[in-house]
């Protein structure tokens, strides 16, 4: 039943002729204020800067944390290496 209705609607749509397009509308334009380009440029630059700040504010703390972590990992190793070396010297 719904298929029949759909088909008849499609047939109707095919048969319907909306007429000739309005040619005057095809190239229709509107005057633009001189500041539009400048506003677009500023908006883009502002968003790009904001993106940089956001990225930086996330990546900087991450970088600091990573450095702290690597220090924490490597420092005890170095201490234990130095201790081993000292023990070796004393034994000899």
């Amino acid at each position: 039943m719904s298929d029949e209705r759909e088909n008849s609607e499609l047939r109707d749509a095919d048969e319907l002729d909306p007429g000739e397009p309005i040619s005057a509308l095809a190239g229709f334009e509107h005057d633009v204020s001189s500041g539009l380009l400048m506003r677009i440029r500023h908006t883009i630059q502002r968003r790009v800067t904001l993106g940089h700040v956001a990225t930086f504010s996330v990546s900087l703390p991450l970088l600091v944390l990573r450095q702290c972590w690597s220090l924490l990992i490597t420092r005890p190793n170095r201490i234990s290496l130095r201790k081993d070396a000292n023990d070796g010297e004393e034994a000899s």
Binding site: L25, L37, I44
Partner: protein, 208 residues
Amino acid sequence: MSSPFNKWSRSSAPDPDEELLHEARKAPEGDLRAFEQLVLRYQRRVVANCRYITRDENNAEDLAQEVLVKAFFGLRGFEGRSSFAGWLQRIKINHCLDHLRRQEARSFVGIEEQHVQEFDQLKDLATADNLAKAITDQQLIREVLDSMPSTLRIPLLLCDMDGLSYEEVAESLNVGLSATKMRIKRARELFRERYKKAQSTVSSANER
């Protein structure tokens, strides 16, 4: 009238913006020169669409600005399956329709509702005065478009100004194909009728 907008969805000809588009995409960050050339090429058209689809004189440039900024940030994702003009067209139409829906939500009036027709009739009265003052052909077209109800004006603009096919208009507006064709037919008739009437009003006013 050889605007690239009118052929965007059907033509297989090379994209006239390809060179600028390529430059804009490969430009180093902060270098907007190529994109600005594209803006200069399309801004008048985008503003016209925003102005007549939303019928919002005050926000037309703001809407156009948002559309063009959106296009800039979407440039890297643009796959080139359609022309740049066609792609920009899609952004613009979706943005304008979203704007209308937001307005509709704020005013509690649907663009499909009977209330809109009533509002549009009130708008007709307001624009009738303006017709007498309209001088140029462009002003006449503007007045006639402003006097048309949204349900007819928007499909007409998408079809005849933007060059979308009936199927694309139906899809954009989420309306059936036959309803879309019917609206466009009625819109064209109404436009021609009002345009003729407006022309005779202006010419009789000029004679006086």
